[in-house]
Amino acid sequence: MKQTYDEIEESYIKTLRGRTALKRLLKDMAKNRKQTAILVASVMITAIAATFSPLAIGDAVNGVATGSFKIIIEFSLVFISLALIQFGSNRFRVLSSTILAQGTVKNLRDRSFKSIQHVPISFFSKVKAGFLISRMTNDGETLGEFLTFQIPSVVSGMTTVIMSIAIMLYLDFNLTLYALIVLPFLSIFTLSLQGKVRRNYLRTRKTIAAITGNLAENISSIRSIKAFNVESYTEGKFDGLNTDNLNANIKASRLSSVYGAIVRIIEYTGIAIVVFAGAIQLKAGLISIGILVSFIFYVQEFFDPVIQLSQLYNSYQSSIVGVGRIYGIIDSKKEAALDGEINVSSLNDSIVLKDVNFAYDDSDALKNINLAIKKGENIGIVGHTGAGKTTLSNLIMKFYTPQSGEILVDGKNLSEINTESYRNLISPVLQEPFLFRGTIYENVKIAAPDKSEEEIEKLAGDFNLDRIFSKLPQGLETNVGELGRSLSEGQKQAIAILRALCRDPQIIIMDEPTSNIDPYSEKFIFQSLEKFAREKTLILITHRFSMISLVDKIIVLQNGEIVESGTFPELREKKGIFSQMYDILYGNRGESLS
């Protein structure tokens, strides 16, 4: 059974269950003690000031009755001061709730982002970028909005509920029990819907993630979509997802509205029960009319926030589902052996691959690889497309770990070596150059932070890359655009090469570094590399041989196995695969191919 992307995503990033997510969220929020205290205090002050306001009015009006203008002035001043206090406390309430809400969201986003930097590389071949984006942005936003605007209501609602229950208990114990009779029903009702509500909201979050995933891909591929004239197909696919999302949302809001309506009925029933029970008790002479009347008022005061809280229940569910999804990213399994104990500061002897086997999922990519790369050696890895060249370099860069066999760096197992210190020794030119938005300088500078712009410019000249950049009017100040799309492919590669060389590493791994660079420019680069690479350990992956004379030794890969290895003359002599490839390129030229 083939898994859908949804299912694959689910198996890679978990979604925490409601209660667990809530617990963690509260714990995270409570870390900001000061703001929590300010929030609670300001909500309480507002509530108290609000309780006293009617009293002040009453007293002021009493002044009218006694004909004392002084009392009127005094108590009006009290009233307006209470309003001023509320103004102040509300201001603090807004500030502290925003700090808590947005601070929490920021914190969750930052932690997810951090987590993404440390998940195994294989994660990215399973999970769409759009899914992650949706969790971090959309889901985070729902939570942020809920918290920013609703935390105060939750806090003040709960305070009012507790206060009213206390006052009601003080007024009459029996009637209070009658007033609370509906609460178990409300809770049971709420709990019985919970699973369904949660599923509904999960569906809305998943469908918006699907939309995000779809658009994230399609917008980046817009040129191909246009080139192949498949706009309407693209739109059609999107429409399907958009409709799914609409339906999920409608379904969720239908249930939430039904819930809200039934809660209303429960509220009114609660009031009716109190009136009824009160009337009976009054008839029996168990309570005084005065108490009953004030009780009825407090019952209303009590139900208001209960209703408010239950109306928030839906946005709460929707946010908590989102939070669970964000924690899922934060909790994602991190790269194994990320923090090997051993720090390395240089390569002293060799990198040795011993009986290495590697498979992506369950398709074998490398079989029984034995290879020793000595310090200062320049090695070429050649082979047909799909032979496993890039895979081999991925293992050496510790992007993946072999299933069996071991990689030894100066005799130490790679998995025990601190990844950061190890990667610091290596500069790769990846098969697919990747550029950050920003200028060429900035892109190179990430590899050589302490080099000045002049130095980088000079190095570009030393490596003969300046002739490629000289075509750009702004030279190294040129903005490369998203993924370097404002440049030609060759220019992108040239930047990737410059970046790698500027780092001045001990080990350079170049994966088809010049596949998009013209032979003329390539020749110049090659000449500069000849000097540079002599002092380095170089791994050059290529299936074109224009730079092969850089290397001392050639490894030929075929179907994941090393089939030939030796120096250039040795391999020519052998008349094997390498020789055959070479001949096709330079040998029996003009001969037709089958």
Binding site: F79, V94, Q102, M136, T148, Y268, Q300, G386, I468
Partner: protein, 582 residues
């Protein structure tokens, strides 16, 4: 002065701009809105009836008229049902309408996006566009939902309050009316001050999306260059800005939004002053005064809610502003509907100039590509090869000069027909997550399984695909991440070949394929697709020998290369240095 007044009115209207904007996406849904309004009135009425009934109940209790009480309890239960129905209609109606709005708008945004010229995308990142189609829409959806479900009840309560006040005492109501301009002034000020912050919030949200996407795409580079920390710092910087802007809004809300209920309280104090004073003087009863002050306190919450709505509205407007950038029609592709692809597939490029900003990439290109030929275009890195070939299927348009296919100006061929018959394998491969066959078929009608297989065979990727346990249904990761470089290119090649195009443009499409495979692919293409014209962009002279003619781009101009054979030999050998040195 007049001008000021007009501006002022405009600003007040601005709060409701998102609602006006939404009309277009809610066509045919007017009746729901009327229904919501009707039930909102009902819902408010039931709310207002509750205190009246409770008052009656208290009267009955006092007079110990228990029969009346039972009747009134029935009234309460009746109200319960009515209010439940009303609350359902209002809440569901508001959410339903706002979801329909979001659905329709999103559909429209995506529709306009795919209709745009590629030029539109030059200065935009996909992350930013992505946020425009998701959260920016949601910002206005949220406002619409809140307005629909709460604006009407809120306004009703205020209207009711004013009405009741008028009924009690005209002078008291004047006190209330006096607050209205002050409230509006504060509201407008609040709105104006928030504006830039919400715009920044929405833009920052776009930047945030953009950074996550970039970071994920570049993970290998990030890790090899130990950019994890710098990337985290960069991202934290963005979330800091985002947080900071929310705080700025919070500061404004803290002052302006809270000022609104405070103004009402101040007016209430004035009423107590005035009312108390005049009651003492005229010795009238205080009932009216108490009622009036109570009404003032009753409207404080609705008024502060209106203030909050202003915040939602500004968020919505900021989002809509960004969405409008995509809805604008001025960068749409000009789609012709009639006309066919010409019979002959020769291409002539005449006097073509192409500019990027102020930079002239192609100066004056004239090129004749005969029908059914195989030509090669070469030139140094950055010489404009990709730029030139992109002009043929009109992915870009030249700034000057014309391109003809079979004698017909490409501008006179409908875009769909043009692009159906010209297939291009771009240098930057974009595969989508999905199966291999989905990627080859790429949503085009009429591409059968057989054609898919044939295309795979021509692209020499068939053996590989068939070696996979799931064959053509194997799912490849996003951007084809689970394939090797050469495999990706060949899947893209198969995609281009599958539709049997009349013109095939290969923009360095075999750069990651070994030479042996490369030549085999070329020969298969020519042999299997009858009468095809192939424009090959290649840097390798080894590939060039397959072409009948080769052209070189240099300094924005084109020239024919003589004797490819010799050049190729010289160049590559040269690049090679001395074989015997090794």
């Amino acid at each position: 002065m007049r001008q000021n007044k007009k501006n002022f009115l405009k600003k007040v209207k601005g709060v409701f701009e998102p609602l006006l904007f939404s009309r277009e996406y809610l066509k045919n849904k007017k009746w729901i809105i009327y229904l919501i309004i009707a039930f909102a009135i009902l819902s408010t009425a039931t709310r207002l009836l509750v205190p009246i009934i409770i008052g009656d109940i208290i009267n009955s209790l006092e007079s110990r008229n228990f029969n009346a009480i039972y009747l009134e309890i029935e009234y309460i239960m009746l109200l319960a049902v009515l209010s439940a129905i009303a609350s359902f209609v209002v809440n569901f109606g508001a959410q339903y309408t706002s979801q329909i709005y979001a659905y329709n708008l999103r559909k429209r945004v995506v529709n306009s996006m795919v209709k745009k010229k590629t030029k539109f995308f030059h200065d935009k990142t996909s992350g930013d566009l992505l946020s425009r189609t998701t959260m920016d829409i949601d910002a206005s959806r949220n406002f619409i939902m809140n307005s629909l479900s709460q604006l009407i009840p809120t306004m009703l309560i205020i209207i009711f309050a004013v009405g009741y006040l008028l009924y009690i005492n005209v002078v008291y109501s004047l006190f209330f009316l006096a607050t209205v301009p002050i409230l509006i002034y504060v509201g407008v000020k609040f709105q104006k001050k928030q504006r830039p912050h919400w715009m920044k919030i929405r833009d920052t949200y776009g930047v945030m999306t953009e950074s996550i996407q970039e970071d994920i795409t570049g993970q290998r580079t990030v890790r090899s260059y130990l950019q994890e920390e710098p990337q985290i710092d960069r991202f934290t910087g963005i979330t800091d800005t985002y947080y900071g802007e929310y705080m700025n809004v919070a500061h404004l809300r803290g002052i302006y939004n809270n000022l609104m209920p405070f103004i009402i309280s101040a007016a209430a104090t004035a009423v107590i002053f005035y009312g108390g004073y005049s009651s003492i003087v005229s010795k009238t009863d205080v009932g009216g005064l108490v009622a009036a002050v109570n009404i003032f306190t009753m409207v404080t919450f609705p008024v502060s809610f209106l203030g909050r709505l202003i915040a939602f509205s500004e968020n919505a407007r900021a989002g809509i502003g960004r969405i409008k950038g995509v809805l604008d029609r001025d960068l749409d592709e000009d789609v012709l509907t009639s006309g066919d692809f010409p019979k002959s597939n020769g291409i002539s490029i005449r006097g073509v100039k192409y500019k990027r900003g102020a930079r002239e990439i192609l100066k004056n290109v004239d090129l004749e590509i005969p029908p059914e030929s195989f030509v090669c275009l070469t030139g140094e890195t950055g010489s404009g090869k990709s730029s030139l070939v992109n002009l043929i299927p009109r992915l870009e348009d030249p700034s000057d000069g014309q391109i003809f296919i079979g004698g017909v100006n490409v501008r006179d061929i409908p875009l769909s027909s043009l692009r159906n018959h010209i297939a291009i394998v771009p240098q930057e491969i974009s595969l989508l997550s999905g199966s291999i066959s989905e990627n080859i078929i790429f949503g085009r009608n009429g591409i059968t399984e057989e054609m898919t297989r044939r295309a795979a065979k021509i692209a020499r990727i068939d053996d590989f695909i068939e070696s996979l346990p799931e064959g053509y249904s194997t799912i490849i990761g996003e951007r084809g991440i689970t394939l090797s470089g050469g495999q990706r290119q060949r899947v893209a090649l198969a995609r281009a070949i599958a539709s049997n195009p009349r013109i095939l443009i290969l923009d360095d499409a075999t750069s990651s394929v070994d030479p042996e495979t490369e030549l085999a692919i070329f020969s298969r293409i020519v042999k299997s697709i009858e009468g095809i014209t192939v424009v090959l962009v290649s840097l390798r002279y080894s590939a060039m020998k397959y072409a009948s003619t080769a052209y070189e781009l240099e300094n924005g101009e084109i020239s024919e290369l003589q004797n490819v054979e010799e050049i190729s030999y010289a160049m590559e050998k040269d690049g090679f240095k001395n074989e015997t040195d090794l």
